[in-house]
Symmetry: C2
Subunit: 326 residues, 2 copies
DNA sequence: TTGTACGCGTTATCAT
DNA sequence: ATGATAACGCGTACAA
């Protein structure tokens, strides 16, 4: 059986409402009493019953995060960060890997204060209507009615191209995933083509190396292919961090030095974790900023139940060792 | 504001206790009334308030899963599967990526009926004591007091060796991750050495190709290295599915055919998802069995609050196209 | 400064 | 077959 405030009250010789006040740090309780009560609570391993609390407060201080099937690894860092931030505002994060509509139902039953949905899925607006709780979507194209947060990936690649051109580079290649019908990856390619001013098929084939996925190995194979065929490339833009790691391994095998032999810009949100022997120049929205933006947005939605407007985060460039003047 | 049974009662012109019964399919309510009430509930988008329910029932029909380091695919598939199975028993799964002790506190406040902890961490027993809710650990060495579920990885590799020897193979290599101080990976290596009866350093170096991680690329590089140096290997055992994918790619480059040029056994739990042009012979405990074992265990713990005994799952071999007689 | 009483939404028990 | 009512643990307005 769980320990309740009544148990504490009995042991402390006070009424249970006094205990309640003491634990909530109310000024209506004398300090010595407060300390004594808190001690007993600690000692008994008291955990307030969330069910009872949310029942009376009509608030659970909890946000639900829906994280359905696919795309698991990438957003995990984001969710970890998000979790930390919400905790700082004394909110608890609960995750569900159920199907979206089912997860929404669950979170509604648990009276979470807000729901964050990761990734794309059908009929967003329908889902939003089915919930009494405000819902925020991340990583989808801006939707009409549902509040959404997304990143301008197209502009990120544009930033990379501009930077390289300023450094004098003209022969710039792009390595990125085009294996699936993925809007997110597609946006990066479009950003590249537009800012390079390319539209001829022959030129596209020369400068764009499509990969079959987003793993390290895909970047490795693409880079090898590039190095074998094209000798006059002076800069490479990579569509993801893992691809970049693969590109660096291939470069190493060819005994190419970055940035001496070619400059490298990586699309990326996550802080560089692995030791790559080089600090990368990256473009993208740092994951910490995404997380804090989501947090801000969610807290606003919780406070004023009005629909927040959707926001598109503008990426930044982080110039580092892997690029230099030609 | 959420819709409650009272709202439904008012609209249906009955008392709210009747509504409660009707929704719970009690035989104490006439069928026509029941149908009418259910219709109204549906129409109003009613979701039972989990807080209120668990308050009175002292049961939340929820299990909390703690997943501190959001890892790779394998565990996420397991959790997905687990989620499905628990759902079939009308339990809801909630995930937390918090630190273990904090997550336990959260889940206690939410009155979950049981907690499953994934992965290794310090002071298991301490944690178990801090919880009023039964805790089950997965993926750690069996612990004294805390109930644990784990897989016998060592024996899995032994199965692979035995199978290959029966097919007439003698020169068998092992490709596996040894980059970190990881007990789980270490167990596989020990299984290999023991069942091969190897202990000389020179032989170990010849037959064991250590990798620097568990990614596809690591398997690819290791296999290439193997193929270049050793010509008389007739079979390869791989420590993980991703490594196997890399090995197959390397084989493809060398124009080696599996199983014509060498047999391949992969350690693996997950159902083969990707199209590898070949059905693999695998050893390991299928993830579905792990999931159902965990489910069984958890449900037992919930029902009889007694500590279940720890269990070690015995792997099986799944013979397929990738191995054949020498 | 502390204690009493009520209500949150639900289920379960008892009375009608 | 249906309705009234107590109880779950907590927070809070109000009484002492």
């Amino acid at each position: 059986m769980s320990v309740t405030i009544k148990d504490i009250a009995k042991k402390a010789g006070v009424s249970y409402s006094t205990v309640s006040k003491a634990l909530r740090n109310s000024p209506l309780v004398k300090n010595p009493t407060k300390i004594k009560i808190k001690e007993i609570a600690e000692q008994l391993g008291y955990q307030p019953n969330a069910a009872a609390r949310s029942l009376v407060q009509k608030k659970s201080y909890t946000v639900g995060v829906i994280w359905p099937t696919v795309e698991r690894v990438a957003p995990s860092i984001l969710i970890t960060k998000l979790n930390e931030l919400l905790e700082e505002h004394s909110y608890t994060t609960l995750l569900s890997i159920n199907k979206v509509n089912q997860a929404i139902a669950t979170f509604n039953r648990f009276q979470v204060d807000a729901i964050i949905v990761f990734g794309e899925h059908d009929n967003v607006q329908e889902l939003s209507l089915a919930s009494t709780v405000p819902i925020l979507h991340y990583g989808v194209q801006t939707w009409k009615d549902a509040p959404t947060i997304d990143v301008n990936r197209q502009y990120a690649i544009k930033l990379a191209v501009t930077h390289l051109k300023e450094l004098g580079h003209e022969h710039i290649a792009f390595i990125g995933d085009q294996s699936k019908e993925n809007t997110l990856q597609r946006a990066k390619l479009i950003g590249f083509l537009e800012s390079m001013g390319i539209n001829e098929k022959s030129e596209i084939e020369k400068l764009v190396i499509p990969t079959n996925g987003l793993e390290l190995h895909d970047g490795y194979m693409a880079a090898k292919q590039l190095f074998e065929r094209q000798r006059n490339i002076s800069a490479v833009i990579s569509g993801s961090y893992d691809l970049t790691r693969g590109i660096l391994r291939a470069a190493n095998e060819f005994e190419y030095d970055v940035p001496k032999d070619f400059s490298l810009v990586s699309y990326d949100n996550i802080p560089q974790s692995e030791d790559l022997h080089i600090e990368l120049t990256t473009v993208g929205v740092p994951i910490s900023r995404i997380a804090s933006e989501i947090t801000k947005c969610v807290l606003t939605m919780i406070e004023s139940k009005e629909p927040t407007h959707s926001v598109v985060l503008e990426p930044e460039i982080n110039i580092n060792e892997s690029t230099r003047k030609i």
